[in-house]
C-alpha cells in the first residue's frame, strides 16, 4: 500500500461510458473519450452558454451571469486545456437544469488510482492550494452549506436523478467520499459536479479555489 499514483480525467463526449484507458484515458466504453487533466496548468470552468466547445482559451471567456431571482446552475462546464489551448467542454457535467447534456450521468470526471489506499478518498474544495481555509464566496463565504460547488459520487452508480442535488464542497466540513471503502486495488473513482449561483451572490473578479483529492496510504 505504498503511495499510489493518481490521475484526474474528464469525459469530453456526450456518451456515458467508463474510463477503460485508466491512467492514459482515451477511448472508453460506449464511445466515451477520456482526457487526462494537467493538474498544474488546466482549470475546470463553469461558464455561460455563450461559450462554445473548442473555443480558443486566448479568446473571450463568458462567465456565468448571476440570475435576477432564484438559483442558476452554470449552463456549461469546460476544462481549460492548456496544452490544446482550448476550452474543452464536459457535456455530461451537471444536471438537466444546466444547458448541456448533464443529468443522471455517471461517467463525467474520473480519478484513477493505480494502487490501494488505506482509507476512503475524499473530494474537497479549498480557497487555495494551502488547504488552510475554505471561506471564499464561491465556497459559501464561511457557511459550507452555501457553497456554489456541488458534487456527487458516481463510482458505484449514477446519481439516480437527472436533477441531483449534490453535496456542497467547502473544506473538510463539507466534502464527498468517492467510494464506500478504502481501495484494495487500482480503481477508477467517478464524480459529477455543478456550480449553482444564487441571485444573492456577490460578483467575483477572481478566485484561487482548488478541487482537492485527499487520501491515505501506508
Amino acid at each position: 500500500m505504498s503511495l499510489p499514483n493518481t490521475y484526474w480525467l474528464y469525459n469530453n463526449t456526450e456518451n456515458d461510458g467508463a474510463n477503460t484507458g485508466n491512467a492514459s484515458g482515451g477511448a472508453g466504453d460506449a464511445s466515451s473519450y477520456w482526457v487526462v487533466i494537467d493538474l498544474t496548468n488546466d482549470t475546470i470552468l463553469f461558464l455561460d452558454d455563450q461559450q462554445t466547445d473548442g473555443d480558443p482559451n486566448s479568446g473571450t471567456k463568458y462567465p456565468v451571469i448571476i440570475p435576477d431571482s432564484g438559483d442558476l446552475e452554470a449552463p456549461k462546464t469546460f476544462v481549460d486545456d492548456d496544452s490544446a489551448s482550448i476550452f474543452d467542454q464536459v457535456p455530461l457535467a451537471g444536471t438537466t437544469n444546466g444547458e448541456q447534456s448533464g443529468g443522471d450521468t455517471r461517467y463525467v470526471f474520473a480519478i484513477y488510482f493505480d494502487g490501494a489506499t488505506a482509507g476512503i478518498p475524499t473530494l474537497e474544495a479549498w480557497d487555495d492550494n494551502t488547504h488552510d481555509t475554505a471561506d471564499d464566496d464561491f465556497l459559501g463565504g464561511g457557511t459550507p452549506a452555501n457553497s456554489t460547488l456541488l458534487a456527487i459520487t458516481t463510482t458505484n452508480g449514477s446519481p439516480g436523478s437527472a436533477t441531483w442535488a449534490g453535496t456542497p464542497l467547502s473544506g473538510t466540513d463539507s466534502s464527498i467520499e468517492l467510494d464506500t471503502a478504502a481501495l484494495s486495488a487500482a480503481k477508477n473513482l467517478y464524480f459529477n459536479i455543478k456550480q449553482v449561483i444564487p441571485s444573492t451572490f456577490t460578483p467575483q473578479s477572481n478566485s484561487d479555489i482548488v478541487l482537492t483529492l485527499r487520501f491515505l496510504y501506508s
Binding site: L39, A182, L211, L216, S218
Partner: protein, 136 residues
C-alpha cells in the same frame, strides 16, 4: 532518527526491531512482510527530539494523509502522519496526527476512525496496559 518509525516486535525472533527510513521521502512500507509480526510497541521520532510512543494496543495502524489539487503543483503533498492503536477489548481507536507543525491526539470509534469511515492496514498487537504518550 527524526521522521522515522521504530517498531518492536513480540517474541525472540530476529530482528527484534525495525526502523523505517525517513517517511517524508520514502514509502513507509507498512504493508511489507516485516510488519506482519505481532507488534509490541511503536515509536515515532519527532524533529523536536521527542518521540511518540504506543504500546499495549490490540491492533496498530499507520498511514500517510496526502492531497492533490487541480491548479496546484500537480504533485501529491503529504499533509500528516497518523498513528493509531485499538484499545484492548474496546471499540475505540487512540489516534495521533502529526502534521501542520502540530501533534494532535484524538479518539475515534473503531471502524469510523478517519473521515467517518474505516481504514485498512491494521496489524496485530500484543494487548496489555495501553500506552499512548509523547516523551523526550
Amino acid at each position: 532518527m527524526s521522521w522515522r518509525i521504530r517498531v518492536t516486535f513480540m517474541g525472540k525472533l530476529s530482528p527484534k526491531t525495525y526502523i523505517t527510513p525517513d517517511i517524508r521521502h520514502k514509502n513507509p512500507g507498512w504493508a511489507d512482510e516485516i510488519f506482519n509480526r505481532t507488534i509490541e510497541s511503536i515509536e515515532f521520532f519527532l524533529p523536536t527530539g521527542h518521540k511518540l510512543v504506543m504500546s499495549g494496543m490490540e491492533q496498530y495502524n499507520f498511514f500517510v494523509e496526502a492531497s492533490q489539487s487541480i491548479k496546484g503543483t500537480g504533485c501529491v503533498k503529504i499533509k500528516a502522519f497518523w498513528f493509531c492503536g485499538k484499545l484492548p477489548g474496546k471499540d475505540i481507536v487512540e489516534m495521533w496526527r502529526v502534521g501542520d507543525g502540530k501533534v494532535i491526539r484524538d479518539r475515534k470509534p473503531w471502524g469510523h476512525e478517519w473521515g467517518g469511515g474505516p481504514t485498512r492496514g491494521w496489524k496485530a498487537g500484543s494487548s496489555g496496559k495501553p500506552v499512548a504518550m509523547i516523551r523526550k
